[in-house]
Subunit: 231 residues, 2 copies
């Protein structure tokens, strides 16, 4: 049966952009499962599956509803063990959590701030109002414009923080080794988020992290490229 | 047959301190293999096994010599597959590399600088001369004393950089999940390095990273505690 996946979009429905939803889309593609993508703007997230979850991604697999990208990956791994593994064993499962926490605490804070205004500009008006209000509260009242204006100044430090990933990629083409695993999709989700919503050049040409990201965009018939880059 | 492991020591032979050698000792203990530890001061590393390796750890397993802590872990995993796995499968193997690069680039620079003078003070005189000379060259001529003096000032930033590890440990007791894997020993090695050679308090009481480190010190009959902490 086709799995439904609910994904965050802005005003352009062809441009799903949530990092966490992309982790799930890549997980489903990795498993070779049939799935249907359902676009959900910010202000309609509470309506998904009659309010079953507070956040997306959510998947419906028959009568099962699962939310949270990591929990979804674990669910898919347990439910479809005969399909390609998302973790490569229990050790990969445990350390994917470390990769997730690293990505969340190293990459997300910079992207969240740096792309904030670009994301806002690509939402439908009703979502823009929600987004501005919730994000400015989260930033102690600082405007989106003020937070985003530090992007250039903070960029060099961000590139330096990627060094552990960059160095890992000098040993192997993917975080998962010779081929990608969920650990890759965790970090891919973050880069895809800004690729789709922010025209800023986050990675310089020749950066091994950019080469890795390009390899990820090529996976599964280029499903990542199906969402156009922000211009 | 008993495996020989060559380990770096200072003036006190009961205090092996190299982070990389500790990774190997923990790997051997994890596999439940018999091994004999051979103490090597800095200036005798070039003499180990007739100059077979430029660095320690080195292990001799029958007629096989293996160096580099990661390569040794891979060797042990391949050679003794029937014993407890160090990686928990191919995914764990691949992402252990990421943990290694993270540890090397996040923890080691601070520890290397912060403990530099304490390490020097715990070496035999001939090793002290080598250590001061090589480390001051590496630091563009800055004295050990000058580098070490920044310890307190840099400490808060270091504690912040541990956040991905700290957060991971709120999900699971070890980086490897419910029980430790080589990924744990990678980070353990770094903390053991400074525990054994530097009396500075690197982690505050109550830090989940300290609790994890204590759990690691308890492993394998407390082999980590067999080296006394610096006083």
């Amino acid at each position: 049966m086709t799995i439904l996946v609910y994904e965050l979009v802005g005003s352009d429905l062809s441009r799903p952009f949530s990092p966490h939803c992309w982790k799930t889309v890549m997980s489903l593609a990795h498993k070779g499962l049939e799935f249907e993508r359902i676009a959900v703007p910010f202000t309609e997230v509470p309506l998904v599956e009659n309010g079953a979850a507070k956040t997306v991604p959510v998947i419906r697999d028959g009568d099962r509803l699962v939310s949270d990208s990591f929990d979804i990956a674990l669910y898919l791994e347990r439910t479809y063990p005969e399909r390609p593994s998302l973790f490569g064993g229990p050790g990969g499962e445990a350390s994917a959590r470390f990769v997730e926490r690293w990505s969340q605490m190293t990459i997300h804070p910079f992207f969240g701030a740096a792309a904030m205004l670009d994301i806002h500009d690509r939402l439908a008006p009703v979502d823009q109002a929600y987004f501005r209000d919730s994000r400015e509260k989260r930033n102690n009242g600082r405007s989106l414009e003020s937070v985003a204006s530090e992007r250039e100044a903070r960029h060099p430090e961000f590139l330096k923080k990627l060094e552990p990933l960059r160095s890992t990629l000098s040993y192997q083409p993917f975080i998962g080794g010779e081929s990608p695993l969920f650990a890759d999709y965790i970090v891919f989700g973050a880069f895809q988020w800004v690729r789709v919503m922010s025209p800023f050049q986050y990675l310089p040409a020749g950066d091994p992290v950019l080469d890795w990201f390009d390899r990820c965009l090529d996976l599964y018939d280029g499903i990542g490229r199906s969402a156009p880059a922000a211009a």
